[in-house]
Each structure stands twice: as C-alpha cells, then as structure tokens.
C-alpha cells in the first residue's frame, strides 16, 4: 500500500472547497465596498449594484427574470421558504391543505413537511419511488387532489445520485395549476437549471455545493406564485425575505455559479469518466457490491454503493486512516437509529443499507485518485468481511 500524505477528497456532495477565484471576487466586499445595499450614499449604491449584477448572473443561468431570484442563507432556508411560503398562502386563499412530495427528499424538505403536517394542519402524500429511486410522474398525477396546493420533488438525490424527471412532473403540475418546487441543491452547478425547460415554479440552490461559500443560497420564485415570507422585517428581496444583503457571499454565489456553467460540459465529462471508473472497477473487483441509484440517469459525480456483510462507518474510518474522505448512510455514521431512509424507500434491506458507501467526485480529482482508491478499498472491504459473522454465514 502506498504511503499517501495528501487527502483524497471524495465527498463533494457534502461540500466543496471555495474556488480561489470566488474568494478573490468576494474579498473587496468585506473591507472596501462594505456599504449597506439599501443606503442612499454612493458606498451603498455600489454594493447595491454588485447585488444587482449577481442577481442578473443567476437569472441569466436560470433563464428567468432577476426579480424572480431571492438570495437566502442556504439551501435549507430556500426549501423552507418554498414549502411554507407557498403552502400557507395557498391555504389562506382557500386552495386546500395537501402537499405532494417524495420519501427521498433532503431533510430540509422532509422535516418541513412533517412539521406542516403535525403543527399546521397539512396532509402530505409521499409518492413511492422505484428500486432506482426514480419518481414516476404518473404517480404524481394520481396523487393530485382538488385540495393539492404544492408539489415538491428534488432534481437529483444527494445520496445515490438519481436524476428525477422534473420536466415531466412539472408539465403535470402546470396542467393542474399547482405550484411545483424542486430542490436543485445537488444539481446546481452541474445540470441544466433553465426554469422553463424544467417547468418549475420554485427552485432551491446552495452555493457550497458548487465551489462557492457555505452560508448563501437562492430560491427562484416564478412571478405570480403565491408566497408568504417566512423571514419578515425590512423590505429586502421585494418584501419576500428580510435581512441585510450578505453582499460578499451573494457575489461569491454568483461568481461560483457562472464559473460552474461556463465549463459545465467539459467538467461533467471529465468527472463522469472518473465516476464511471469507480463504478466499473469497484463492481468488477469487489464481490457482493451493488451500485445504488439509477445506472445511467445519475449525477456525473456520484458513485454510491452498498457492500454486503459489512458496516459503513467502519469502512469510512478505514478509508480516513489512509487519507480518503467519503460518506455513508449507515445508522452509525448518521447517528440515527435506522439506516438511510433513501435506501429504505428503494427497498434496500436494512442490513445491506448499513453497508453503504458514497464517493462523489469533484474538479480536483484525478485518475491517480481513482487508482489510489482501488488500491485500498478492496483490502478494507475484505478485512471487514473477515471479521463479519454475516460473511462467514453467507
């Protein structure tokens, strides 16, 4: 086994390092152009201009109007604003109290839906997913009722990378006049975000997934979509989200998004090639392992698996000891009492779901990184299997 002193980071779905060009774009807004964007004097007007430009950059990539872009503090806040903002207004207008979503959403959607159900009188339908985690648009159609006020389905799943049929679902939602939100946090920076092609009315993004800083996000809201603000105060973001604009971070988000989409095709190709190497080589060299998520319609960076007979956290610790950063959905990793709810929704049995491993490739990864992973992972899996009563009893 090679001696490696550097870290091989393969957890880009969790977060990414901020691109140095993004840092450079942000810096002037801390000590030089620090004015409050609402202030009358020129110091304020120039930061207002920076926020405007950032907004236009985002609108350009989303194919929407600048005034349809709201800057938030993160993807979770965007999700909360979308869900609460729409459902509460709709209910007040007498439209109903039913929400449709999937069982594989990020907790920012799932836990918010739970709260809306438990404390705000809403009913939530979780449409099933197939064994690849794909939502069937027809299931959404069947779930729609007269009192459905919102549909929310993630663009791509963070755990196993499956890309959902957002445009088809959006078409169905549009036919019925129901606002449709997509959590695009994992897709942002990688997949097409054009809101008209996607047929969405609301869309969430988070900068730290595409080489921007943590602490800033976007919610796109199509004009005419009812939205009750969740954070009230000064009239920021056209009275939709109060709070003095986080100018350097907003500039950071826009810069990172622009950089991502300027080179999306070539980046995606390169990253997908590394992902495919991981998928092909791991499934070829290690027995009793299964790829999770859709085999082809998946994020270019996501190589996620379940390994039979062993447990995820033990794999991660062993990988960490040799410099590899990865993730798992096992109970012992997440601190919950059950394995990944995403894998469970895909009918992966719990004892197998505990053996999950997620590798998500990024810009700085190389073929040498994949070579290294292949030099250490089979040995780690075998060592853990030799210790496992389940392996012995197979």
């Amino acid at each position: 086994m090679e001696e490696r002193t550097r870290t091989i980071y393969l957890d880009h779905a969790a977060t990414t390092a901020v691109d140095p060009r993004v840092v450079e774009a942000m810096l002037p807004y801390f000590t030089e152009h620090y004015g409050n964007a609402s202030s009358i004097y020129s110091l304020g007007r120039e930061t207002h201009k920076a926020v405007d430009e950032a907004r236009r950059t985002v609108a350009d990539i989303l194919g929407c109007k600048p005034e349809e872009v709201i800057f938030t503090s993160c993807g979770s806040e965007s999700d909360n604003l979308a869900l609460r903002g729409v459902s509460l207004t709709q209910r007040e207008a007498g439209k109903g109290h039913h929400i449709i979503t999937s069982p594989i959403e990020h907790h920012a959607i799932g836990h918010t839906c739970e709260q809306l159900e438990k404390h705000f009188g809403f009913e939530v339908t979780y449409v099933p997913v197939d064994q690849h985690g794909v939502v069937d648009p027809d299931e959404i159609g069947r779930a729609i009722r007269d009192d459905t006020v919102l549909i929310s389905i993630m663009y791509a799943n963070n755990e196993m990378g499956t890309i959902e049929p957002i445009a088809e679902i959006g078409e169905i939602a549009r036919e019925k006049g129901i606002p449709f939100h997509t959590d695009a946090v994992q897709a942002g920076g990688t997949l097409d975000l054009n809101v008209d092609r996607l047929n969405v009315d609301l869309l969430s993004l988070s900068a730290h997934k595409f080489y921007g800083p943590k602490g800033v996000g976007v919610l796109y809201v199509r004009s005419g979509t009812p939205l009750l603000p969740t954070q009230t105060g000064g009239g920021h973001e056209r009275n939709r989200r109060a709070g003095t604009e986080n100018v350097p971070y907003i500039v950071g988000l826009a810069t990172a998004l622009r950089l991502a989409y300027d080179h999306a095709e070539s980046n995606n190709q390169r990253i997908a090639a590394l992902r495919d190497r991981l998928i092909d080589e791991i499934t070829a060299e290690i027995p009793d392992v299964q790829l999770t998520g859709h085999p082809t319609h998946r994020l270019p960076n996501n190589a996620s698996f379940v390994f039979k007979y062993i447990e995820g956290e033990a794999m991660l610790l062993n990988l960490d000891l040799v410099g590899v950063c990865a993730a798992s959905g096992s109970a012992c990793t997440t601190g919950e009492s059950e394995p990944s709810f995403v894998l469970t929704a895909m009918n992966v049995p719990p004892e197998i779901a505990h053996g999950s491993l997620r590798l998500t490739v990024g810009r700085e990864n190389t073929d040498a990184d994949v070579d290294y992973v292949m030099s250490v992972l089979p040995g780690i899996v075998q060592k853990l299997r030799m210790m496992s009563p389940l392996y012995a009893a197979r």
Partner: protein
C-alpha cells in the same frame, strides 16, 4: 465522530478476531437490521477464560469494543468476566462518544451470554 487513539488502535488492529471450533461457550447479540451484531467464543479451563475470540458486523466502536473486551478478559476468571461492564470497556478504550456507548454494551452483553452458555452446558462448574 470523536474517537480516542486507543479506539483507533483497536479498530485498526483488532485483537482476537475469529472463532473457536468446539468452543466451551458462545454468545451472539444484536441484529443485522440494527447494524450491529457480535459473536463471542470462549474456551474455559479451570474456571478461567483460556481463550476468547470475537466477530462483528458493526461500526468502529463495535470492533474496538469487541477487541478491548477480549483483551481484558483473556486469562481472567469467569467471575471477573461476568462482572465486566460496558463502562469498564469504554474506560479502557479511553472513553467512547455517548452515542457509541451501546457498542461497548454490546461487547459486554455478548461476553456474558457466552459465559451463560458455558454455565448452561456445565451446570456442575460453579465459578
């Protein structure tokens, strides 16, 4: 997860992994559905644990707990082994995060089961 150096050491180089053919006692606890399962095998001679082996399907803390418990107990009397608690194992490891205490509990309980199995088979041997 905050793991002590000792936990990492036991996890990297677990002691006494394996089975004992024709063991004098065997304990098995936990469940694959829960994500942790442990087996402990003991060889008893003159009311002392002559040999001990363990296997586990579980996380780092489970592996380290199994390893540490086996090391603490080898050569000890059955009575001493029966008195082993999850806190003993966790302390010996330099502490375990609160959420992982159930792993040291698994090791201690599985050991007790192994001894119970031995006692059931050898009723006349009182420790």
């Amino acid at each position: 997860m905050e793991y002590s150096e000792l936990v990492i050491e036991h996890f990297q180089n677990p002691r006494n992994v394996g089975i004992i053919e024709e063991a004098d006692g065997m304990g098995k606890m936990g469940s694959p559905v829960c994500g942790d399962l442990m087996e402990i095998y003991i060889k008893v001679d003159n009311n002392h644990i002559e040999d001990i082996k363990f296997r586990t399907f579980g996380c780092g803390a489970a592996i380290a707990s199994g390893s540490m418990a086996s090391e603490m107990i080898k050569g000890k009397s059955l009575t001493e082994a029966e008195a082993l608690t999850d806190e003993d194992v966790a302390s010996a490891l330099g502490g375990l995060p609160e959420k992982k205490m159930h792993c040291s509990n698994l090791a201690a309980s599985t050991l007790h089961k192994a001894i119970e199995d031995y006692r059931n088979k050898h009723d006349e041997d009182k420790g």
